[in-house]
Symmetry: C2
Subunit: 326 residues, 2 copies
DNA sequence: TTGAAAGCGCTACCAC
DNA sequence: GTGGTAGCGCTTTCAA
């Protein structure tokens, strides 16, 4: 390529990289660009990476791909990365491959840094990350000692949902919580309590059940709460909301006439449920964007300030919530 | 690392790669392995790739990530790739970045080959792939002139679904078809007709509407077909089935008492719908596995025979289908 | 059985 | 403003 243009390789490299530290005659530059274009020249990224010890690539590690939350985070991260001149290498960690995934990405010099979303316990995650020899940013969770993370304000989101239900006149509002131990679960539970308090409703532990993040968990927890005769329920996720709704249908409770159901996070599946689910939108795509740019900044030697939790979006009132009965 | 073990780099390389063409004294090998272990040595994959002109990495390109079909294909591909000593680089193509995605992956020497799932038109896809300078295998579609592809037998799947509905006594079975032009849509329509024929039911074009692959499309198509008073409907996808169900609920049709609904492909969301959706399982994960191994074989210089369409899995009878009314 | 050395394609430094 | 060149970390051929 360089010899076709009649210039030295190094000159071609300067032009092609857009190096501005040294100037190149306009005519030469044009010739190089033209030849590169004609030959559809693409620099070998392996050689470049070997030389520069950078790949201009970020890795993103998520627990699952077919999950709207992570899919949106990936989209956001990819967009921000592209704008900053980075590619994104996507990886998901099947259960059991936890440690390996991070290791593979980081120890083989394929990525400059890592965006990590994980549902693992603190200790597991911490040791996995310790083995990663690259900078990383956590998404949707905090880990003591890991300074860079971007989280959603799920406390505010839960508060918002409770406010909506209370505004409809509900007083017996149940909560299908996430995992017992878990940063987000605690946040949401806290937001739920704050929401109750703001509405002047006393907190009743009997109206809270642990549902985890599966439909089965949601169903089990809802079944557990039926005897308490709640008139509304706030589920931690769309999936647990769906599980709860199936139990309600089976029990002959009408939604929303007998009971209102709301969930956190918004995704297309919310409108597919029956009745369509009232949700609070969460800026998951934004989370990916922010995480990626945080990572890139820290790769360039900056020490960015911690990012405050991203506030929830609007509450989307759909068919699953309505006025309190009676 | 080599000098720590007191051997030459080349000897270390031979041992670490498991090169059997030359023998190494057992003692030396043990020493190298031990030191490598102690230092947690990981070969630099960029340097290796630069030297060998191989990355032992496959790329997989899908239109969306939060789609159970593609997520399963990715899982399968990743599993097969890992077993064959390859990593998988996942990429999704936002609308508009169609050409670039394939180009970026293949022209920067980052992957040895590509697995491609695409919803694009033949011509678009063809020219994108022409620009890719690596071998590729198509998933879930055929493209004239592209010899390597792995498809699901969606014709058989549609046949199976119709057989189930006919077996329940339905005679007026509608079909929510996919895109007008499209390999899979045509296959499914064909299977639908074959299923009708096998059940001795005459094909009625008035019972077929184009729904595409969205909930809105499914809803629109279902609304269109209501005046035909079908007693059962086969939707091309889960999502269009969900759209159809929302219209049926709104119109006051009871599922399955007034109308049975079935969809193709199975995924957790099928059980979240109300009522839970009867589906035909499709071997999408297997598709990814087969595609990956096909690609690896063709990378090693083999010329594998074309793979016949993968037969559908079982029909999962859930709550959305029941005996024909009357 | 092991070592020496070339070279993959590029960047970055230095010389001119 | 441009060219020469060393060297990134590895594999592979050849020599010892």
């Amino acid at each position: 390529m360089a010899q076709t243009a009649g210039v030295d390789m190094s000159t071609a490299s300067r032009v092609l990289r857009g190096d501005v530290s040294q100037r190149v005659r306009e005519e030469t530059r044009a010739r190089i660009l033209k030849v590169a274009e004609e030959l559809a020249y693409r620099p070998n990224s392996l050689a470049r990476g070997l030389r520069t010890a950078r790949t201009d690539t970020l890795g993103i590690v998520v627990p699952q791909l077919d999950n709207p939350v992570f899919a949106a985070a990936i989209r956001g991260a990819e967009q921000a990365a592209a704008e900053l001149g980075y590619s994104l290498l996507i990886s998901h960690r099947e259960p059991g491959t936890t440690a390996t995934t991070i290791a593979k990405l980081s120890q083989t010099n394929r990525v400059d840094g890592l965006l990590v979303a994980s549902l693992d316990d603190d200790e597991v995650l911490r040791s996995d990350l310790a083995a990663a020899h690259v900078p990383f940013v956590l998404m949707n969770r905090i880990l003591p000692g890991a300074p860079l993370s971007v989280v959603l304000d799920s406390r505010a989101a839960a508060r918002k949902a409770v406010a909506h239900l209370a505004g409809l006149g509900h007083r017996r509002i149940a909560h299908l919580a996430g995992r017992d131990q878990g940063f987000n679960a605690a946040q949401r539970l806290d937001g739920y309590r704050q929401g109750l308090e703001a509405a002047g409703i006393a907190f009743d532990p009997a109206l809270v059940a642990t549902a985890g993040y599966t439909a089965e968990g949601g169903a089990r927890a809802m079944a557990e709460l039926l005897p308490q005769r709640p008139t509304a329920v706030l589920a931690a996720t769309l999936v647990s909301a769906a599980g709860a709704m199936s139990v309600l249908h089976a029990a002959g409770w009408r939604i929303p006439q007998d009971i209102s159901v709301a969930g956190l996070h918004d995704a297309p599946v919310a409108s597919l449920l029956y009745p369509s689910l009232t949700t609070v939108m969460m800026p998951t795509e934004e989370m990916g964007r922010v995480a990626a740019s945080l990572l890139v900044r820290s790769l360039s030697g900056e020490h960015p300030d911690p990012v405050p939790p991203l506030p929830p979006g609007d509450l989307i009132a759909r068919a699953s919530t309505g006025p309190a009965p009676g």
